[in-house]
């Protein structure tokens, strides 16, 4: 084999993928960006001018500001709750005997394979006015009024935590597996309390997993559509449902495109800055 022949091979092998992606991913993304720079008229449709008015409207209008703030708050809250319950659960899983661990890993990770529509439906059944929540509250004597978490921020938070917490568990669990159990035994035999070992030895080593789990949960909450659409409905719009309405109800595609571009940029910004932090702070752990 000559050298020039060797060099051609990898390009030939990647060509189908690159061509397919350039045509069917590159073109639509560029078109969406260009669309966001056109203005829209409710009588004549999409104009041919170039303007950043859509971005000014999305970032300046209190209506959209509220939606972005709600989405950001929701993502932050869901991420914090996922850390609070996902990290201990990953720790418990790592301490179970291998037989129990494989059973519970299946239970915790399995829902990721089930459509998010089905999982959200389960919470909608709980939250509805004549749902189980009402029955429980009546049985406990909290009065006869139906309790409904449908179309509430609380309901949306609970359902999203349920949908996304497996990502936190798996990512923390992966980093806990890399810990040498002897480092904990060493701490214990040197007289540290169990709590100190947990705080000073286990937790710092699990940190990369907690961070990467947080970033996944945050990014997926920020762009979540199905759960906010079903549980939050029209009353509690988030960025994704707002963009959906611009495209399919109001038909103001350029404005919807601007929302989509902002969502994409925010997403990339979060992921890239996270990677930077990881590279700098945890370089020694990944060696």
């Amino acid at each position: 084999m000559s050298t020039s022949q060797v060099k051609k091979v990898p390009y030939l092998l990647t060509t189908p993928g690159v061509l397919f992606f350039a045509l069917l991913l590159g073109a639509p993304m560029v078109m969406t960006f260009l669309l966001s720079l056109h203005s829209y008229d409710f009588n004549t449709g999409i104009q041919t001018d170039w303007t950043i008015a859509n971005y000014i409207e999305v970032l300046g209008d209190p209506y959209f500001q509220k939606i972005f703030a709600r989405t950001f708050g929701l993502s932050l809250l869901v991420t914090v709750i996922c850390i609070l319950i996902g990290v201990p659960e990953a720790y418990v899983l790592s301490r179970l005997s291998s037989k129990w661990r494989s059973i519970f890993l299946l239970i915790v990770l399995g829902p990721l394979l089930i459509s998010v529509v089905v999982r959200t439906l389960g919470w909608a059944l709980f939250f509805g006015g004549n749902g189980v929540l009402t029955m429980i509250s009546q049985a406990l004597g909290f009065g006869d009024e139906p309790v409904s978490l449908m179309f509430t921020f609380t309901g949306m938070t609970i359902a999203l935590v349920h949908v996304l917490v497996p990502f936190m568990v798996i990512s923390v669990w992966a980093s806990l597996q890399k810990i040498d159990p002897q480092s904990e035994d060493a701490g214990l035999s040197l007289g540290a309390s169990k709590m100190t070992v947990l705080r000073r030895i286990t937790l710092p080593q699990a940190m990369p997993g907690i961070l990467s789990g947080s970033i996944i949960v945050f990014a997926l909450t920020a762009s979540a559509f199905a759960t906010p659409a079903i549980i939050g409905g029209r009353r509690l719009k988030v960025v994704a449902t707002a963009a959906y309405d611009e495209y399919l109800s109001t038909l103001n595609w350029p404005l919807g495109a601007a929302i989509a571009v902002i969502l994409l940029l925010a997403n990339i910004l979060i992921i890239v800055s996270y990677n930077k932090v990881i590279e700098r702070r945890f370089a020694n752990i990944f060696e």
């Binding site: 060797v6 060099k7 990898p10 390009y11 092998l13 990647t14 189908p16 993928g17 690159v18 397919f20 992606f21 069917l24 991913l25 073109a27 639509p28 993304m29 201990p88 659960e89 418990v92 301490r95 179970l96 494989s102 519970f104 890993l105 299946l106 239970i107 915790v108 399995g110 829902p111 990721l112 089930i114 459509s115 529509v117 089905v118 389960g122 909608a124 059944l125 709980f126 004549n130 349920h162 497996p166 990502f167 798996i170 904990e184 070992v197 996944i216 762009s223 559509f225 659409a229 079903i230 994704a240 963009a243 959906y244 595609w253 919807g256 495109a257 989509a260 994409l264 997403n267 992921i271």
Partner: protein, 264 residues
């Protein structure tokens, strides 16, 4: 290794109940004998499972999803296997860029992909077509199959291949008889993961699917936003059972944790 205390076990039990509760709820409601949403307090009934048979829309959507997932997962594997071999086994200028490009859909929210495809297809006259839907799904799921193929192709020894080449086997024979069998577990796992991701996808498909190409999640979503009835619960129960079977198979052969690490 430290033993778990009682507090830890109680926490664990509550966590597991939290995870299972909505699924158990769906299954319970689907067995109701009433005409409305309720728990089956007066005995179990299969009437809402029979009701699925009277709703060919849902059955059509199910076949549509299955066919779509099969086609797009297969195309994704055909694209990603050669790419994975190139990226894992060759050093060449632009390697990292190509790899990042083919994995980039992981960083793009499904909603953004959805609106981009909606506009793109309607401007080139492919709006609502099955071809368009399948191509969009291929873009979405290729990173999953690429990643598993990459994992199995990385660090693969070339000794057996070189031996076969020396002994006069053609390049294609070497690929078919040696390379492919070696990476097959990763390729098959990637196909299954791509298949499931495509089958479950809602957010992007809501924008791309037309009434003629409605997938099951899209059909279910539109149904739920109109009305929540025991029918949707019985359909969901069927899905839960089917997914559970696939999950057991996947776990048996690969380990669910290995498949999901880094998914997202």
């Amino acid at each position: 290794m430290q033993k778990l205390g009682l507090t830890a076990l109680i926490f664990h039990a509550i966590f597991v109940i939290f995870i299972l509760a909505p699924l158990v709820m769906v299954v319970a409601v689907s067995f109701t004998d009433k005409g409305y949403l309720s728990l089956p307090t007066d005995g179990l009934s299969l009437r809402w499972f029979y009701a699925i048979l009277d709703n060919p829309d849902f059955i059509d959507a199910f076949w549509m999803s299955l066919w779509l997932a099969f086609i797009s997962a297969s195309i994704a594997v055909i694209i990603s296997v050669p790419a994975a071999l190139a990226i894992a086994r060759h050093k060449f200028p632009g390697r990292d860029t190509i790899s990042a490009f083919l994995l980039s859909p992981l960083m793009i929210p499904h909603l953004v992909l959805g609106v981009a495809f909606l506009q793109f297809y309607s401007s080139i006259g492919l709006g609502g077509s099955f071809f368009g839907l399948a191509a969009a799904h291929v873009i979405l799921i290729t990173p999953y199959s690429l990643r598993l193929a990459l994992a199995s192709a990385t660090g693969l020894s070339t000794d057996a291949e070189n031996a076969a080449l020396t002994l006069g086997a053609s390049k294609f024979t070497v690929f078919r008889r040696i390379t492919l069998p070696l990476i097959l577990p990763g390729v098959a796992g990637g196909w299954i993961l791509a298949f499931i991701t495509s089958f479950d996808e809602l957010t992007m498909s809501v924008f791309v699917a037309s009434p003629a190409t409605q997938t099951l999640p899209v059909k279910m979503y539109h149904h739920i936003t109109q009305t929540i009835d025991p029918l949707i619960a019985s359909i969901s129960t069927v899905l839960i059972v089917l997914t559970f079977i696939v999950m057991l198979i996947l776990d048996r052969f690969y380990g669910l944790d290995k498949i999901f690490i880094g998914k997202g």
